[in-house]
């Protein structure tokens, strides 16, 4: 795992902690690289696209081509781990 990805992971976990603080989460354990948005955090479609807004505002500070990560053949992917998002964001950070 690259240092950049691990730094992003910590930023994402901090953001997601804040994002889900009012939710009745069944899994109250600490988030890790393997934590999944839908299965573990109870995300719905609207939460995913709002998270995209939050990532662009708080982490990348620019538009990110999230369609490449979220969609496969016009459908949402079944689920995403926080680690997958961190790895996807690495090029956006190094190029900024």
């Amino acid at each position: 795992m690259t240092t950049a990805s691990n730094e992003l992971l910590q930023q994402l976990i901090a953001l997601l902690d804040e994002f889900t603080q009012d939710w009745d989460r069944e899994d109250e354990g600490a988030m890790t690289r393997e934590t999944k948005l839908l299965a573990d955090l109870g995300f719905e479609s609207i939460d995913i696209i709002q998270l995209v807004v939050a990532i662009e505002e708080d982490i990348t500070h620019r538009k990110v081509a999230f369609d490449q990560l979220l969609m496969n053949n016009g459908r949402y992917v079944d689920d995403l781990s926080i680690g997958q998002i961190a790895d996807f964001l690495v090029p956006y950070m190094s190029a900024s």
């Binding site: 839908l38 109870g42 609207i46 995913i48 696209i49 709002q50 369609d67 016009g74």
Partner: protein, 274 residues
């Protein structure tokens, strides 16, 4: 603006603003319709007040007030002129915005929209049959659905109560209000809070622009209605009132056809906006 609305923009080109219906949110349009239109347009999607990640003020849920929200959002986002696409109540909001400031809109597409002024009641018998999911919700609700003059609201509220109470109805339509996952409970609770703790329930049925005002709107309008639509009377009356309309029925479609019949919806929209 007075109420904070959650919104997103994609793509570049002529502006298109898409407005979801009640109990839904901007994810109704994303990814398939909004992303596809964003290949040639700048698409803005947003959550109506009281929905999704927008504010939930104690009042202001009529189509007239929500149309003002839309106009303010356009100002905030720097949208001088746009095409509007609205599903269900979102279409009624779109029509009000056009009635308020016609010069700011190039096209209007209404999808299975009931217009309170033209169709004051929405009855169970406005179409022949309930879907499997509607039948299951009605059975669970146990109320007098035959005589309810606002069956659409009754259905949404009863469906939300099933979700909140954890009742699995074991049948599904092509689109299930409030979603399927664990987050569905949050969405259903939010809908019930909106009904119970704000003046939305009363304001949703407030009529908007007069028929005289509607008659004067001459922008191109695409009226798409489901084959199995309870709002058909609204569409037929709009066709008679508005001078520049195209009329489409979505074969085999129900109220949520923009999700269940996405390819057909997209083809019609792209042709209309071209």
């Amino acid at each position: 603006m007075s109420v904070k609305l959650a919104s997103q923009q994609f793509g570049s080109g002529p502006d298109v603003v898409m407005i979801h219906g009640l109990g839904a949110n901007r994810a109704f349009w994303y990814p398939r319709l909004a992303s596809a239109l964003a290949q040639t347009c700048r698409v803005t999607i947003y959550d109506l007040r009281g929905h999704g990640y927008s504010d939930t003020p104690p009042s202001g849920y009529s189509t007239t007030v929500m149309a003002q929200d839309l106009l303010e959002l356009m100002d905030e986002r720097g949208i001088a002129q746009a095409a509007l696409v609205g599903h269900s109540y979102g279409g009624a909001v779109a029509l009000e915005a056009v009635a308020a400031q016609a010069a700011r809109f190039t096209h209007l597409c209404l999808m299975d929209t009931r217009i309170q002024r033209l169709q004051p009641q929405l009855r169970l018998h406005d179409i022949d049959a309930l879907t499997a999911f509607e039948r299951a919700v009605a059975a669970q609700d146990g109320g007098d659905w035959q005589n309810d003059p606002e069956i659409g609201f009754r259905f949404l509220e009863a469906a939300a109560r099933c979700v909140v109470d954890g009742i699995d109805l074991e049948v599904r339509d092509a689109f299930t209000p409030f979603g399927e996952g664990r987050g569905a409970k949050r969405a259903a609770r939010a809908w019930l809070r909106l009904l119970d703790e704000t003046s939305a329930r009363r304001e949703f049925v407030t009529p908007g622009a007069t028929t005289d005002a509607l008659r004067g709107l001459n922008l191109p309008c695409l009226l798409m209605y489901a084959e199995h639509s309870r709002a058909l009377r609204s569409g037929e009356q709009l066709t008679a009132l508005l001078p520049n309309t195209q009329w489409r029925r979505v074969a085999g479609g129900g109220h949520f056809f923009p999700v269940s019949h996405v390819a057909e919806t997209l083809t019609e929209l792209q042709a209309f906006l071209r």
